[in-house]
């Protein structure tokens, strides 16, 4: 049975699940359906961060156009409609044992593509969640439902995996930004010219 978190909550991941190495972070959402207008294109990304909560290079920004990072330990698999991934819109696979030591935190975000031009925001998105499950067993370990906290935001830092001593922990962050992916990149020290 997975632990359901509330905003801000932090829980142990590897301490309570000894031997856990390969995890999948699944992110999902529903968008309001209406005729006409633009399609919704939501993107999940991961930022691989050092001690100061900044990326060390643009290679540490993992998204659909840079799907692998952290020396191969983090892989964005995109849509996965089969098996254990049922329901997730996008997934990111992580081998915790292979994440380079310089990477202290991994932040997971959801952004709305072209939000400003399409006049879209998270007020039109419902049932957004992030969950962590074991790649080997498929067992869901942690789940954080974002609820209806968001309205004008176009980008959300959903959650953070972080090192705590020799273990990995999970923080249900839920921080919203209005500036889309650009605001997130600035927050994480990534220069997007």
């Amino acid at each position: 049975m997975a632990i359901s978190l509330s905003k801000g909550q932090k829980v142990d991941l590897t301490k309570t699940n000894p031997g856990l190495k390969k995890i999948v972070v699944g992110l999902g959402w529903d968008t309001n359906k209406y005729d006409g207008g633009n399609d919704f294109d939501l993107d999940a990304s991961a930022f691989l961060l050092g001690e100061t909560s900044k990326v060390q290079s643009d290679k540490d920004f993992i998204f659909y156009n840079n799907a692998t990072g952290g020396e191969g330990s983090v892989v964005h698999t995109g849509d996965n409609r089969t098996g254990a991934g049922d329901g997730d819109d996008e997934q990111i696979n992580i081998d915790l044992s292979k994440v380079p030591a310089a990477i202290q935190k991994i932040d997971f975000t959801i952004t709305i593509h072209d939000a400003a031009a399409r006049k879209q925001n998270f007020g039109q998105v419902s049932n957004a969640y992030v969950r962590v499950f074991s790649e080997d067993s498929g067992a869901e370990l942690i789940r954080y439902d974002l609820g209806e906290d968001f309205s004008v935001e176009t980008a959300i830092v959903v959650a953070e995996l972080y090192r705590h001593g020799a273990e990995w922990k999970f923080n249900a962050v839920g921080s919203g930004f209005q500036g889309g992916l650009a605001a997130l990149c600035a927050n994480f020290g990534l220069d997007v010219g």
Partner: protein, 191 residues
């Protein structure tokens, strides 16, 4: 450079800093970055405890609405509403020689204003610390960085200044509570 304290550690100020009379107590924190939603308003408060671990009167609860203790020993320099910026977010000035003889202990707590309705907790707060410095020289005497990984707590006891055998000491506490300022008032005020 002062002494770095770990959770639970104590120092004897009379020994480590014998010339210390006017103590500056700086409390600081950073909150998660976001550009929407509510501001984080964290409040530092002091409970000045006498016999039986209670405040002798409500005026010995020093906070943003009662900035000075009746004995004139403790002065809260005011509320910082956003926690923005480096360094100390809130400061409490303590003149040890003026502390009323009936007071044995000063407890420094930090609470999140309207934590419940804003759905905020210490899981969204990082880099919290409490430090003691000499107001006259500016020199830091001791610092405690609360490196514990707090989660759903909405109130934290950072540290306490207490008198033992006539000497002032400081302990790094770092204890979290799922309560608010009212919870501390109930704990420390006999009414």
């Amino acid at each position: 450079m002062g002494i770095n304290l770990g959770k639970g550690e104590r120092i004897n100020l009379s020994k480590e800093a014998p010339s210390l009379k006017k103590v500056g107590v700086g409390l600081g924190w950073d909150t998660n970055q976001t550009d929407t939603g509510y501001d984080f308003d964290l409040d530092a408060s002091v409970f000045m405890l006498g016999a039986a671990g209670k405040i002798p009167s409500e005026k010995y609860f020093v906070f943003y609405n009662n900035l000075n203790s009746p004995d004139g020993s403790v002065k809260h320099t005011g509320d910082n509403l956003t926690g923005q910026g480096d360094g100390d977010d809130e400061t409490v000035l303590v003149e040890l020689s003026k502390v009323d003889g009936a007071i044995n202990e000063l407890v420094f707590v930090v609470t999140i204003h309207e934590a419940e309705s804003r759905r905020q907790n210490f899981g969204q707060v990082r880099n919290a610390f409490i430090r003691l410095y000499d107001q006259e020289t500016g020199k830091e005497v001791a610092k405690y960085e609360l490196d514990e990984d707090f989660s759903r707590e909405t109130a934290l006891e950072f540290g306490r200044l207490y008198k033992k055998d006539g000497q002032w000491r400081f302990q790094a506490v770092g204890q979290g509570f799922n309560t608010g300022l009212q919870g501390f008032v109930e704990k420390y005020y006999a009414g």
